[in-house]
């Protein structure tokens, strides 16, 4: 009997030791994955540049092709040419090509652009490019629909929505935003989940003070049930006034003299 007990003990011990030893081997150390950093591909130019020339040229070339029989006055470049005249805004030929490439890239990946913009708060403007229409140089703000503007064949209202890289560099826009962030006292009594966007169009003087201001969506100010809109708009106007003179670039007045500020309280209130 003792012999069997002994054997049993021996076997049991061996099994236990084996398990104890092998288990750690079976346990693999968890992979130490580096945290995923979202990398934003922001195209920053070294200097403010206006590649209108490139765009306009492309658009008009296409249209030229479409209407071969008609003799188009090739004043297509007038807008661009004028821009070209501005001394420090002329992109050098090599730069021009670079711009072209960059722009083309953007165009091909509209979705990507959107994501990039959302991630970086500074890079908001989307460049929407509709090569099919001469009205390609269209103001595309968040609210305005492309349809209504497409209908507008006249180019009189050809306010161009420019991306940051076009009229203000990233750092310039940053500076302006930071300044206004500091001046804007958000009315705390605003309701959640409503449209809390106020767009204010400004005409600025060269020193950054405001010559004229206009609230777009003015009709909302007195709508019943939208009382908060008036309050929101007033707070935005107050912010602008307190912040004068605005931090505008020292040069290029023609480019930024019409400034539209889109105050959106939703992000702050959601958090």
């Amino acid at each position: 009997m003792t012999k069997s007990i002994f054997l049993s003990l021996a076997f049991h011990t061996t099994m236990i030791i084996l398990t104890a030893l092998s288990l750690p081997f079976m346990l693999r150390a968890p992979l130490d994955l580096p945290p995923i950093l979202s990398v934003e591909l922001i195209q920053i130019t070294d200097e403010t540049s206006v590649p209108y020339a490139a765009k306009a040229a492309k658009t008009l070339e296409k249209i030229k092709k479409e209407e071969e029989e008609k003799r188009v006055v090739s004043e297509q470049a007038p807008p661009a040419e004028k821009k070209k005249e501005k001394p420090d805004r002329i992109p050098l030929p090599e730069d021009l090509n670079k711009e072209k490439k960059q722009i083309v890239k953007k165009k091909q990946n509209p979705k990507e652009i959107k994501e990039q913009i959302r991630q970086s708060s500074e890079f908001e403007k989307k460049e929407l490019f509709d090569p099919d229409q001469i009205a390609a140089l269209i103001d595309k703000s968040k609210e305005d629909t492309a349809e209504t503007l497409k209908k507008n064949k006249k180019l009189t209202q050809s306010s161009v929505k420019t991306s940051f890289a076009n009229a203000l560099t990233l750092s310039q826009e940053d500076a302006l935003k930071a300044q206004i962030f500091g001046c804007w006292s958000l009315p705390l009594g605003l309701p959640y989940q409503k449209n809390l966007l106020v767009r204010i169009k400004l005409r600025l003087r060269p020193d950054g003070t405001v010559l004229r201001s206009e609230i777009l969506d003015h009709a909302r100010m007195n709508q019943p049930g939208q009382g908060f809109y008036k309050v929101l708009a007033e707070s935005a106007l107050r912010a602008i006034r307190i912040c004068q003179p605005l931090r505008v670039p020292p040069t290029g007045y023609e480019k930024w003299k019409d400034l539209q500020l889109n105050f959106d309280a939703n992000e702050m209130l959601k958090g």
């Binding site: 050809s158 962030f181 009594g189 400034l259």
Partner: protein
């Protein structure tokens, strides 16, 4: 012909060069309370002092501005600036404020006014200015008896609040609550009523019998509550003006948890008999009693939606306390809480969008809000013991009460009223002379 049109077309482009409109998105601001300057109201010559029971008031203009400042500060939305930095005198500021002076101290809004006190009349004029835009925003005048000077201050606060936030104010309101004193095992309870800022406390009962859960009628004249008069716990009606009390209905058992319907015509409450509690209503005019729930579970804490069409209530028919919503005739009962823990004291917001409640989970008590379908549950605050939220009339602020833990000797117990903003900010203790519990907010006194 076409060519010519096209020519004109392109010439147009030539003449109107593309304009650049730079757009910048402003998505952040600061959430600091709005800096506002409340200038003491200027007292017109010929005014006399105001005599009240407690005191003689010589400078009601200054007192009014102080009441307004306290209201603003307690709301958490405004930051009233210190008076010693004011440059302009009250009389001039009211007529022609020098906006640069006010902007210098960083005020974005300014309240000025003037007061005339005679024997039986108090006339108050006030103006709200936007110092940044340099324009007047409101100009109003009131006239009332001198002893109502506090209400004038509250009405001015409400007007300014509404103009600057877009929401109706809640300052010209009262709070009814249970004042508590004595040992935890033998609490002495009285009905008390006060202005929402704590002033003008009045006791409505003597404290000889236990009183609980008082609620205002929407007309503010009547109050309903539970009283243990003659050791029979029943729902009573009390007229604040006349002091007359009467039992609601003729029930052969305990009635409790009373509330008014939004039109003030009915009282809704629970009636307990033979171990079962159901919800009943009684029409105050016709005295007709209607049974709303008929279930062997405990159904209590009923609260009407502001349009009177629905009732939310507390029931343990699923085994534990949960919140249900039904039509006001008792049909279509739906459970709306499914989270972990117990849910109780549901109360419908005057805005109709949310239901506030008490939640108990793992030994902790929470005050929270959810949408009327039970979604979007948000817990605002956590404590050892707190319950029974009540809404301000603008559906923005919740008042509730907390009790403290006692120590090993069984001492250190206290009950206090607290308030919190819907966003979870501005949690604030409400000072009361004695301990307090079961607070309920009135609707606006001025309609």
């Amino acid at each position: 012909m076409r060519k010519i049109i096209l020519l004109i077309f392109y010439l147009f482009i030539l003449i109107n060069p593309a304009k650049a409109l730079v757009e910048v998105d402003i998505t952040r601001g600061n959430l600091d309370p709005l800096p506002i300057a409340v200038s003491p109201l200027y007292i017109e010559s010929g005014s006399i002092d105001i005599k009240t029971e407690q005191e003689i008031i010589k400078n009601v203009g200054e007192r009014i501005s102080e009441v307004i400042e306290v209201n603003f500060k307690r709301s958490g939305l405004f930051n009233p600036l210190k008076k010693d930095s004011f440059v302009q005198k009250p009389d001039i500021a009211h007529v022609k404020p020098r906006f640069e002076d006010w902007r210098l101290i960083k005020a974005q809004a300014l309240v000025t006014g003037k007061v005339k006190v005679s024997e039986d009349k108090l006339r108050v004029e006030f103006r709200l200015w936007d110092t940044v835009a340099a324009k007047e925003m409101i100009a109003l005048a009131f006239s009332t008896t001198p002893k109502n000077w506090r209400r004038v201050a509250h009405i001015i606060s409400d007007k300014v609040y509404q103009r600057l936030t877009g929401e109706k104010g809640y300052f010209d309101t009262r709070i009814i609550y249970v004042s508590e004193t004595g040992l935890k095992t033998q609490r002495f309870k009285k009905l008390a009523i006060m202005d929402q800022d704590g002033a003008n406390v009045k006791y409505l009962t003597l404290g000889n019998e236990l009183v609980l859960t008082p609620r205002f009628s929407p007309k503010n004249q009547l109050v309903t509550y539970l009283s243990y008069f003659r050791n029979l716990p029943r729902v009573y009606l009390l007229d604040i003006e006349t002091g007359v009390q009467e039992v609601v209905g003729d029930f052969p058992g305990m009635t409790f948890a009373p509330r008014f319907s939004p039109d003030g015509k009915k009282i809704i409450m629970s009636f307990a008999q033979d171990g079962n509690s159901d919800i009943y209503t009684m029409n105050l005019e016709t005295r007709v009693v209607e049974r709303i729930t008929d279930h062997t579970s405990i159904d209590t804490s009923p609260s009407y939606s502001p349009d009177g069409k629905y009732i939310c209530f507390n029931s343990d028919r699923s085994g534990l306390q949960q919140i249900y919503v039904m039509r006001s005739d008792g049909s279509n009962v739906k459970r709306i809480t499914f989270g972990k823990g117990l849910y109780g004291t549901p109360v419908w917001s005057p805005r109709g969008d949310l239901i506030a409640f008490t939640k108990v989970h793992k030994g902790k008590f929470y005050i929270g809000v959810m949408r009327a379908d039970g979604s979007g549950e948000r817990l605002l605050t956590e404590n050892f013991y707190q319950e029974a939220p009540s809404w301000s009339p603008n559906g923005r602020v919740l008042i509730f009460y907390r009790e403290t833990k006692t120590d090993e000797k069984g001492e250190g117990f206290s009950a206090k009223l607290w308030s919190i903003d819907l966003t979870g900010y501005n949690e604030r203790l409400i000072e009361t002379e004695t301990d307090g519990s079961d607070p309920s907010w009135s609707s606006l006194l001025s309609k």
